[in-house]
Symmetry: C2
Subunit: 342 residues, 2 copies
């Protein structure tokens, strides 16, 4: 029950993380201010790369910071790194150990660029290498599939955004309700489980989300691949229209993340089209009028923080789907907790 | 036979494009030099976004230019664009018409940043909006699924790299052989067709490539989704180890792009593991020792240009797979040639 207990521990883990990160993010934001930064380059893999996708939207929309996800092989295997002039270079990694990501940070230091590590261990190689390190403080993660480290990364990115914008006082209420909202999602785990069991017959699926939920779609798809062994491909709703829309037919399982936002009308229209074409649509939503065959309800929160409760609902869905498919969520095949790629 | 004739026209189209782009890329590179650029921000969707992935590696490895793929919704739907200080902003689009991409270029101009359009129509809205435009010159593309516009985009990105590096004389031989190498790939279309027919029983597959072929993996997967209606998920081999490796089992179809490169040892090792676990591996390769169940042979070319012949082989494979699955490659369902997303 390791994975399940870590999923259920998230309200407490996030509350602890929020307290632990309060001062370090303020100090990090102050340090960034004087560091001559025009944009940010992020290095991450797997789940942490999905947290990096979240940073693209949060830091972009709230802090006007242009964020790019880098290509580690140019640094590690090719030895042909780009010029990082103007960049803050950020590594995001639960373990802080993957050699390809360490190569990106080492090169950034060689170029004299400011470096930041976001890891779940203050003694990790990445935390020791970077100029500054933020420690998630969600406690040791034992399950192979990342859950609380992902929500901890999202929270850390959100807190750093508030510190950069110096609007922590204004958004404090929105942040403070995250642990209780997450708790409310977990309280509905039995209903979510029913939706998951209904989905068990699908063996091909896509996961759709856009904007802040581009990250949620990618992370939900990754959890499904790791745990349920379904090929679940994530798409932004805009990219989906540029080609993959052809996949839609009876029998395709479509998972969507559609909370209220300026993107909701566009996403709604797409889901209605998909559903009309006979695909089975399950959506995570806080909207009364979400056009899906089944809706997993989550509480409404400020849009920029909505990826936290949404992914918790997706984790619960995936856990139940995995069990319903007869797989063991605590022993995903072929994986280890710490993956080291070159 | 529209799609097939466009696939077969690529040697001639690429030769024409090379002649047409020679002077414009030199002028564009000269203009970039004086434009105060520290990094590049690319806006694209669908196939063009895969060309943008190629630019990340080519411009990164050969020109030390840090390239990021942007998030159009921040510009179009949210109206919260990031600060583009230091950026060259590049739109890549066959039609040059999608409103979300036009929103990125319009904002870049508002911020006084240099803008470049790479389109297949010099009278497109994107070409007219940008400070400078490069026209692919591959001729009108009528098929819904992009083929010659993609190889044209790759060639344009490669030529601009040579112009930026001012090493056109040194790499002229490598570039000049591209049309004939592409011709050689097309001459083996019957053998590739046999590989495709053998693959027809798979309904779940992944596509693996890394480095310069990260783009090839994404574009092959997109062609398969659009035309064959298979969920085919693309991965870098490094990201594949960080979770999706759990998908590997008997019955999973694995497509890989594994031409000779500094990444070949790592990718080889992964493919051997996947094959040993019982998944069926088909690889596009120029290497004698590629550990796959079936190898689609392509001629060896300079690594930075290898995505051009490799994707042509993948297009032929996908065309035959589509026909073998009883689908019409000229009428992919639910798609139009020009997709306009907000």
């Amino acid at each position: 029950m390791t994975l399940w207990s870590e999923i259920m521990s998230q309200p407490a883990a996030l509350a602890a993380s929020m307290a632990e990160l309060h001062d370090p993010v303020a100090e990090t934001a102050a340090w960034m201010k004087g560091a001559g930064i025009t944009h940010a380059v992020l290095a991450a893999r797997g789940t942490s790369d999905n947290a990096a996708r979240y940073a693209q939207y949060v830091w972009g929309a709230r802090n006007r910071l242009n964020v790019s996800l880098t290509t580690p092989s140019l640094f590690s295997v090719y030895g042909r790194p780009p010029d990082l002039a103007g960049a803050l270079v950020v590594g995001i990694s639960q373990s802080g150990e993957s050699p390809d990501l360490l190569a990106v940070l080492a090169e950034a230091k060689r170029q004299g660029r400011p470096t930041l590590a976001i890891t779940n261990s203050s003694s990790s190689p990445m935390a020791r290498l970077a100029d500054r390190a933020l420690n998630l403080g969600v406690g040791e993660e034992a399950a192979v599939a990342a859950t609380k480290s992902y929500t901890g990364q999202l929270l850390c990115i959100a807190l750093l955004s508030a510190a950069m914008a110096q609007d922590l006082e204004q958004v404090k209420g929105e942040l403070d309700e995250i642990p209780s909202v997450t708790e409310a999602v977990l309280a509905s785990e039995k209903e979510i489980g029913v939706n998951a069991v209904d989905f068990v017959g699908h063996d091909r699926c896509v996961v759709i989300g856009r904007g802040f939920h581009h990250a949620t779609a990618h992370e939900w798809a990754l959890k499904i691949a790791e745990l349920s062994y379904l090929v679940a491909q994530p798409f932004s709703s805009a990219d989906f229209r540029h080609g993959p829309m052809a996949l839609v037919e009876r029998g395709l399982g479509v998972l969507a993340v559609a909370t209220q936002s300026p993107l909701f009308p566009e996403l709604s229209e797409l889901l209605a089209e998909i559903s009309a074409a006979g695909s089975h649509v399950v959506a995570i939503s806080d909207a009364a009028d979400c056009p899906a065959n089944q809706v997993i309800r989550v509480p409404a929160v400020a849009e920029w923080l909505s990826p936290i409760p949404a992914i918790v609902a997706a984790q619960v869905f995936t856990y139940h789907l995995t069990v319903a498919r007869g797989q063991n969520p605590d022993r995903p095949r072929a994986l280890r907790k710490v993956t080291r790629t070159v």
